[in-house]
């Protein structure tokens, strides 16, 4: 597998594959993850056109400072095979897979991606996966899905389709998806991957967005999907780590370094073992802080 680097995932924004102007503009916002969409925002009559457009945009016009992905059509869609043929060749950072319900679905897609990577001379495993859980079955199987492939770097929970599958009513308070959010979050933690929260659908309700994002942050999510560019800065602010989190991350990394100096196989901090996911989370915390303009490497800046 290819070596994975720390990539921020505080905010993700979709740019529809039908609209060149959306794709051009999306580059200029502050989202960490930019996802060119071939799925829900593209009508059936434009699937072919969107595929060409997204391929060309990602290949020739992708932003250098974002984690760039392509959302392909669903696993049982007639469009998926051609989506994969185009999307892998565009060489995005990741593919976002919608409506995942079983681990075997991710494994199948991962194998299909690997075959294309091999054919075009890419290192197998170069392309990450972000999987969307959008149904009760996906929530029930979240743990297996999260561990289905080493390509998976994050799992997202999507509330709109989920509430439909639950026969629930979507509300701003979100009690109907509270269990699902936590189930996906727990699965992500168990698998050592990032957890991405649901969208907040009312783009005119800033107070509601703040409340919902604060909840997501407090629950433990690493980021949130935005439905509109105007939500990005608010969500980024909430996912900027606190000084306490930054100090702890620095201590984790110092302990890891000390362990390396002393050639220790296992490193302990405050009586607990530090494992690789903890080290990666510490690096992510510092990257989030630096992305927010905080100087985290100098002690004087933290006091």
């Amino acid at each position: 597998m290819a070596e994975k680097t720390i990539r921020l995932k505080r905010t993700s924004l979709y740019a529809s594959g039908v609209s060149p102007v959306n794709m051009v503009q999306a580059v200029f916002y502050n989202e960490d993850m930019l996802i060119y969409d071939l799925e829900d925002s593209v009508p059936a009559s434009e699937k072919d056109a969107a595929r060409f457009l997204v391929y060309q945009m990602v290949k020739h016009h992708r932003p250098k400072d974002k984690y760039v992905g392509i959302r392909v059509n669903g696993i049982y869609s007639e469009y998926l095979e051609e989506d994969l043929q185009a999307a892998v060749r565009a060489k995005p950072d990741f593919l976002r897979i919608p409506k995942v319900e079983y681990a075997r679905e991710v494994q199948d897609i991962s194998n299909r991606i690997a075959a294309i990577e091999e054919k075009i001379g890419m290192e197998t495993g170069s392309i990450d996966l972000v999987v969307n859980v959008e149904s009760y079955m996906g929530v029930i199987n979240a743990m297996e899905i999260a561990k289905a492939s080493p390509r998976i770097v994050a799992m997202a929970v999507s509330a709109e389709d989920l509430t439909a599958s639950l026969k629930a009513q979507r509300t701003k308070q979100g009690l109907e998806v509270f269990y699902a959010r936590n189930a996906v979050l727990l699965a992500c933690r168990a698998a050592g991957i990032d957890a991405l929260d649901v969208v907040f659908s009312d783009i005119n309700d800033v107070a509601g967005l703040k409340e919902d994002t604060a909840l997501a942050k407090n629950l433990g999510f690493d980021g949130k999907t935005c439905i509109h560019p105007r939500q990005i800065d608010t969500v980024n602010t909430y996912f900027t780590p606190s000084m306490k989190e930054i100090r702890y991350a620095l201590r984790v990394l110092e302990a890891v370094e000390e362990g390396k100096r002393q050639k220790k196989g296992a490193v302990v901090l405050d009586g607990g073992m530090i494992d690789k996911p903890m080290e990666l989370r510490a690096l992510t915390t510092l990257a989030q802080a630096e992305a927010a303009g905080l100087h985290v490497r100098g002690e004087e800046k933290l006091s």
Binding site: S19, V21, V24, F52, Y55, H60, E82, K119
Partner: protein, 98 residues
Amino acid sequence: MEIKKPAVAGSLESSDCQITVEPNPGQGISVHLESDVKAMFGDSILETVHTVLKELSVPEAHVELRDRGALDCVIRARLQCAVCRAAETAYDWTKEDA
């Protein structure tokens, strides 16, 4: 690819272009370009059109291109799509591996 019928791809929205590809029997390649930036970028746009048609092995076609400030990669995408629709064939993505 043989152009079998007229086909359109793209739109007249900002940053896009609308491309129509039609059969042009015995006439080779002809291109009609409308663009507000034709004076500055017309030659570049036409070069892109001819390059893409050559890549897709299209020997004869009439192309109408209405540009609304599209990037070169958008023009390529719209023309590839219009040609595949006009030829009634799926794109062979292994062409991109060359």
